[in-house]
Symmetry: C2
């Protein structure tokens, strides 16, 4: 007999209405339920509480002492929950009108983000855009776990069939080296010269993207040596100056690493990298569609103002 004292808010609402009307049939109408249903629920509530709340007297209904005692508390519960429900209403609205943009590193690239944003907000002035930095463990930059609604990512993505994307930049890849490295003397390097260097690699969880930045495709089967794993720009920089290895980097990201002690050189013999805006393929929400449309327009220079 574990006496759950929990109650359904609906039952309290029913009770309060009957207490106000002192009339089951009328109360049932106000509540949009049938009279028997209301009758049964009130009896169930009385049974649950072990107390007679209403005295039914053939042609009249009256509150008992217990019913009168319950009424104010029931009203307080209803009111408290009304506030909670309205908070949820707000949360729902906020969720509906907030777009979270995931990204691993700053997209930069010539005002891409501000341009998209300006188009987007002109189409949806009520919407808020939140940027969210996501570590490199997640190559989908938050799309996978719902942290982000759209995201700037490097191709290729894992689970390609779950996402759609628009390529926003195609950039040649450079190599980043400590400035003391022998190859730093060259102004340009062949990838074959790098194949035996220790590489800095993305985390395992990055899947095909890790392989891509190791340029696995260009290595004819011989596996790369891994100098260290990196999950952020800062880690990468530290690993480079510490001499743990070298790594490929998109041309657009070169400025993020060349702070001192690190140099970058163009690489021949590797495919260019592709940077894209991605979203969950089945996600049809207006804000998502508007953002991707804005992005496509910016890329294509459509309707430039």
């Amino acid at each position: 007999m574990a006496m759950t004292t929990d109650v359904h808010v609906r039952d309290l609402r029913y009770f309060v209405t009957v207490a106000e009307e002192l009339h089951f049939t009328r109360a049932a109408e106000r509540l949009y339920v049938s009279q028997p249903a209301l009758s049964k629920q009130i009896r169930a509530l009385e049974r649950q509480l072990g107390v007679e709340l209403l005295r039914r007297d053939r042609h009249s209904v009256a509150l008992t002492a217990a019913g009168a005692a319950l009424l104010p508390h029931a009203r307080r519960v209803l009111e408290a929950w009304a506030r909670g429900a309205s908070a949820m209403e707000q949360a729902r609205a906020a969720q509906r009108s907030t777009l979270v943009v995931g990204m691993s590193t700053s997209p930069g690239r010539g005002g891409l983000l501000p341009a998209i944003r300006s188009r987007f907000t002109s189409a949806h002035p009520e919407a808020a855009v939140r940027l969210r930095q996501v570590g490199w463990q997640d190559p989908s930059a938050g799309l996978a776990d719902g942290d982000a609604d759209v995201a700037f990512v490097w191709l290729p993505l894992p689970d390609q069939d779950r996402y759609a994307w628009i390529v926003v930049a195609e950039e040649p890849r450079h190599v980043a080296l400590p400035e003391s490295h022998p190859l730093a003397a060259r102004s340009e390097v062949d990838f074959t010269d790098l194949a035996d260097e220790p590489f800095l690699a993305l985390p395992e969880s990055a899947g095909p993207l890790r392989d891509y930045w190791l340029a696995l495709d260009e290595r004819a089967g011989s596996p790369p040596r891994i100098g260290a794993e990196i999950a952020s720009t800062e880690e990468t920089y530290e690993a480079l100056v510490a001499g743990l290895g070298v790594c490929l980097v998109a041309a657009g990201n070169v400025p993020l690493l060349t702070l001192g002690g690190v140099v970058t050189r163009p690489v021949r013999g590797v495919s260019p990298s592709r940077y894209a805006l991605a979203w969950r393929k089945e996600d049809q929400r207006p804000l998502v569609r508007a953002y991707t449309r804005a992005c496509r327009q910016v890329r294509d220079g459509t309707g430039r103002r």
Copy 2:
């Protein structure tokens, strides 16, 4: 899509617990439910509210903004309901420890009530006794509709198989007459002399009791003339002085009617009336049993102090 915003208080309790533990399995233990049940309920709550409350991150659980917004409201609802539940607890206790004694007219009869009460309260000091006056429409004096837990009634009762009783007084019946009535000159009358008089009768709803006070049994088939219906001592007195009829009255109730203009005379040829304490046969509650026991002891003079 009538969006019931109602929520089960249990679900809020579940949510608050998970929000406190940030751990489903531990929360489930605290709540004494299985982990899948808890998981499902929380998801259902999220679905109902159309909002993500908790972010499950494989090896960690965190509140979302919506969850954080809900938490205080949920706590307020729980607290409001806790007060309500405790009020119901009190009401239950009060109901359990209050005995309602129904009666049609004052039992009087030599301190019967105080004697019973004193025995009763010495056995149940925590209990409260409430007396309740009931109109003569209800011959069970409130037992039938639950207004009373025990009641002082005149036999015979309707629905005899629903009640048990102890006879507390057996009194000869007198007749009450306006003092101007021819029979008022006699010091005693035969019922046969009364048979053709108009009688004051109890309401139809009194059932066999109405017939009893009309002394139907003594009338060999010829039906009585009804002068008026009466439902209280005052009505009876007024009807008597107005000359609407005569009526039988228990010896113990004679003082209630002989106020002026009305006289009473003993009646030969009618059975004595029986006054009883009655209760619902299936009612085994301790207070009811204690009261009837006290009554029996007082009647039998057992353990007189």
